[in-house]
Subunit: 336 residues, 4 copies
Amino acid sequence: MMRVGVVGAGMIGRDHVRRLTSVISGVTVTAVADVDTGAAARVAATTGAAVHPDGLAVVAAEDVDAVVVCSWGDTHETYVLAAVTAGKPVFCEKPLATSPEACLRIVEAEVAHGRRLVQVGYMRRYDTAYRALKNVLDSGTIGAPLMMHCAHRNAGVPAFYQPENTITDTAVHEIDMVRWMFGTEITAVRVLRPRPSRNAGGITDPVLLVLELANEMLVDVEISVNARYGYDIRGEILCENGTVALADQNPITVRREGHLTSPVPADWRERFSAAYDVELREWAAAAVPDGPSAWDGYAAAVVSDAAVQSLRSEERVEITLANRPELYDPTSGDLD
Amino acid sequence: MMRVGVVGAGMIGRDHVRRLTSVISGVTVTAVADVDTGAAARVAATTGAAVHPDGLAVVAAEDVDAVVVCSWGDTHETYVLAAVTAGKPVFCEKPLATSPEACLRIVEAEVAHGRRLVQVGYMRRYDTAYRALKNVLDSGTIGAPLMMHCAHRNAGVPAFYQPENTITDTAVHEIDMVRWMFGTEITAVRVLRPRPSRNAGGITDPVLLVLELANEMLVDVEISVNARYGYDIRGEILCENGTVALADQNPITVRREGHLTSPVPADWRERFSAAYDVELREWAAAAVPDGPSAWDGYAAAVVSDAAVQSLRSEERVEITLANRPELYDPTSGDLD
Amino acid sequence: MMRVGVVGAGMIGRDHVRRLTSVISGVTVTAVADVDTGAAARVAATTGAAVHPDGLAVVAAEDVDAVVVCSWGDTHETYVLAAVTAGKPVFCEKPLATSPEACLRIVEAEVAHGRRLVQVGYMRRYDTAYRALKNVLDSGTIGAPLMMHCAHRNAGVPAFYQPENTITDTAVHEIDMVRWMFGTEITAVRVLRPRPSRNAGGITDPVLLVLELANEMLVDVEISVNARYGYDIRGEILCENGTVALADQNPITVRREGHLTSPVPADWRERFSAAYDVELREWAAAAVPDGPSAWDGYAAAVVSDAAVQSLRSEERVEITLANRPELYDPTSGDLD
Amino acid sequence: MMRVGVVGAGMIGRDHVRRLTSVISGVTVTAVADVDTGAAARVAATTGAAVHPDGLAVVAAEDVDAVVVCSWGDTHETYVLAAVTAGKPVFCEKPLATSPEACLRIVEAEVAHGRRLVQVGYMRRYDTAYRALKNVLDSGTIGAPLMMHCAHRNAGVPAFYQPENTITDTAVHEIDMVRWMFGTEITAVRVLRPRPSRNAGGITDPVLLVLELANEMLVDVEISVNARYGYDIRGEILCENGTVALADQNPITVRREGHLTSPVPADWRERFSAAYDVELREWAAAAVPDGPSAWDGYAAAVVSDAAVQSLRSEERVEITLANRPELYDPTSGDLD
């Protein structure tokens, strides 16, 4: 039974606690902390976990084998570094940290430790449809990839959503997915601004990202965060001899009043709940994490930064990464 | 330029005249008659055709090379026989005649004439989707056919629709299609009565036909004539190694208010208008008609009669056909 | 932590043990037995469960709170009755027992006990798509149901598959689904024999079942157990104002060599694995089981028997059930 | 009966002659010319048309009421100007002429004539699916358009295909469609170069066009002319409250060998043959042409030129059109 300590008892923290205790076997939640001590106490009450004064105490607790970090983004660096120092596996919700420099400090700490301890919460890699996409691509039956067309649409976003969140909260999932799907780095990004939606409030919405990859591919990504009609994630990969695309996933079709209809998911919970389950199940089962690594978290942060810069300047921005330490070689399993 | 005389200027007659004059090249409408002489006069006014006192005069007219019969069903026999006697090609809307005996008199007259002159208006044989179904079937790539599942749904039917019309007007299209699709005769029929729809008025609706074929296949056919949501024609053929089915045909998909939707056709005009065009174009272009023959019209009448009997008795009814004259051998092209 | 004893360590038994220990939280497997003691020992080795000499010892074990029965069908009655007598919840793979009389003995024992302890393994009730179908039906938006068209196709079946298995192993899933979907009993069944597939060996395959329901609905069910192309489960419900149907479920579409393609599941494991997970998770979480009841197991056995009789006689067979004890009233939650 | 003269008896010329004589009623082909006099003679032999020494003679012929120009692109200006001068309606295959200046000379001649005589052969405006797209857009039910994503894929291209043809032959259809769909002009274009396909020979293929519209919309267009798997035309319009997209159009679905498949069109003939029929039928029936105008031909030429420049420079190119004469106001029906 793996004993997990959870830092952060907000919405996503509570959801991960539910998953760790009700959906995944072989795990028990033994410790929890939150700046809102009431929230921590409520989680503790349902799980029998001990409430700790802060995240560092959770990381340090003797009955904590592994840590899940779900606190605010700007606290991630502290807790992840503490876990690495303590030699404990740590699952950190995205982003890994709020600047490329902070991410790089985590990478360096992990390299110093000598083996992987950190996994970042990019759940698309665990989605059945994206995995099927990658299987077809890797099978070689449709040839080498040339382009990918993506769209990420939210029905709406919360009031606190800021213009940069289009990139840092939303597009960042596409950025990680692209790096994983094609096993290559993103070398430049350009953010274009179409006609703005009147549903969008102060946000620049939609936007169109054009990503350039080290293998010469182009990937275009529409981000619409006030699309109204539902939550819709699209992707089609053009290869030399064919294409592979995410399909609409409808369990049923209804014929009614002159139309054939099927439901569109309402939000990311509905679309990706199974992927979140698989993500944490595979994480809990792995001796060494092989999901999104600290390096992936760093690279996503760098591309994200460049995209925010391009969103402001409307110019193409080139991307330079630090040298990738051997620990993160694709043969190590995390980027292929 | 083929000169066509049209008997019957009702809805379907006017539609065929429009087709012959505006959609199909190489044809001119020179003569028309209807018991409603005003209706005949209106058609004549738009086409330059001469109004004749009755259908026999149309058939006899010197400037009529071929005849299209769209009058009431119980007059079909008279006009078709007259055309055969005159040695003129005749396209007759379904049914060929209102009893198997009358159909057989036409068959005998045509056999006496020595070559095919008669075509019956079963338009499904000209529909792109049904033809694609038959092409796959005949290609042998999915093996021999074992069953077919069909559904024929109307949004609603006119007030004058009678209980037997479920069979004689509606199911008869499926009956002809099945004989053509599999190149074999129907040997027995059973009509089952599911829970009746409260939309159906006095009609037994829906019904389920189970057709037994000479090649041992079973074909089940749902007929719903008050389905409300639209006009929907389905068919899936189960073969030994795979299946082939009619697809939903939607030019577009709309995403809106939580749903992905596409339109369903409103009625048979929308669904089969292209098939009607092809039917008359191929008829007009053929020296000898190779569409549904007098024999096909006769066989449909016999099966239809048996189905009406089963609708009343709820018993399985066996079907016996006369011997098929050589003129209608499949090698002649009309049944395989 | 619920302590579960497992009777039967064959393929399905091992799969349920894997599910109970790796997929579902809050459960531990403490006891196991199998006539093949080696098989029981291998399961025990991976779980820490104790090997017992026989199923009755598993049921009786002090550290067993609930029982899962996965042994051969003709032993089910003994173990289920023992569990009921011991007052322990028991999940029994289908069939509940191999005769209606045996099922009725279980029903009577449970009624004597006074509350529900038994759940039968009909997993379709836990499938996302079937549940969505039922939600639309129950919402009333498309009116009252009139007919349902079903097909159940296996790519192939094992060598030991007998003619009756078409009904007792395969159609029985459709029989339970129909009773649950419409909350009504099946009153008659007729099994029709289409042209036999040359892939079928000695089996009568395909067959077409026509089920008559107490609410006057008709349900037709194609069973094909050598369909070659894949595992395919279909269902469309015709209602007064619309229809609802199971959709093809494809995570992706591939365009290649002139075709748009998507994969069909290979077998029931692929199609229903998530439903099996949900089934056991809900069972483990429920204080009183609310899945398929002993009554459901009894009714399925009676209908199944009638269908086997009809398969042999080719006659329509009427179905009479015992009086349903109050314990199984729909308000108790298991049949609505 | 409208008497049509045809200039050019190559592949597309012969196809239009077939259409005018066999598919469309009310038209006769009376005159034909081609630099290859044998080709002209063969067309004449099948239609009874007279062979003329050159296109100008066809335009001038007394028994020619209207002209169809299908000769090489660089001869279009001469014949179209001659027809305008003669006051005869002229249908000109795309491009209207090979430079913006030449197109503008035709515009000026038509304006001087005082009413529309010229129609350009952009057939997508006549395609059922594109029209359905525009109907939904114009209905306002999904709000104002913000972006459109397009793809145009050919299985392969002929050996004589040059790099610029990606724009001038292929993308030009998308350019005209976008102007028509949104009733607005294109103000800038950028052509991006993804990883090149090894199927492409010397062509830059695929390319990604980003079009900026006067209404602030962005439209991205993938052009792949060696996509191998088939001919595939895609379009999805993102609006404020929903989307509308071209659907895959498959008459049938086949289940076979583990897959559900449906055919993809092989080439543009298969995909757009019905649109070509409607295009010429509506043209022949219209007293004043209301299809793509000389102005549309001019605008397409200007955008096309800019895109070719961007293809070479990889820079964004802004587009400036001449002032649009009143004759082409949207209220005149040709652009809205």
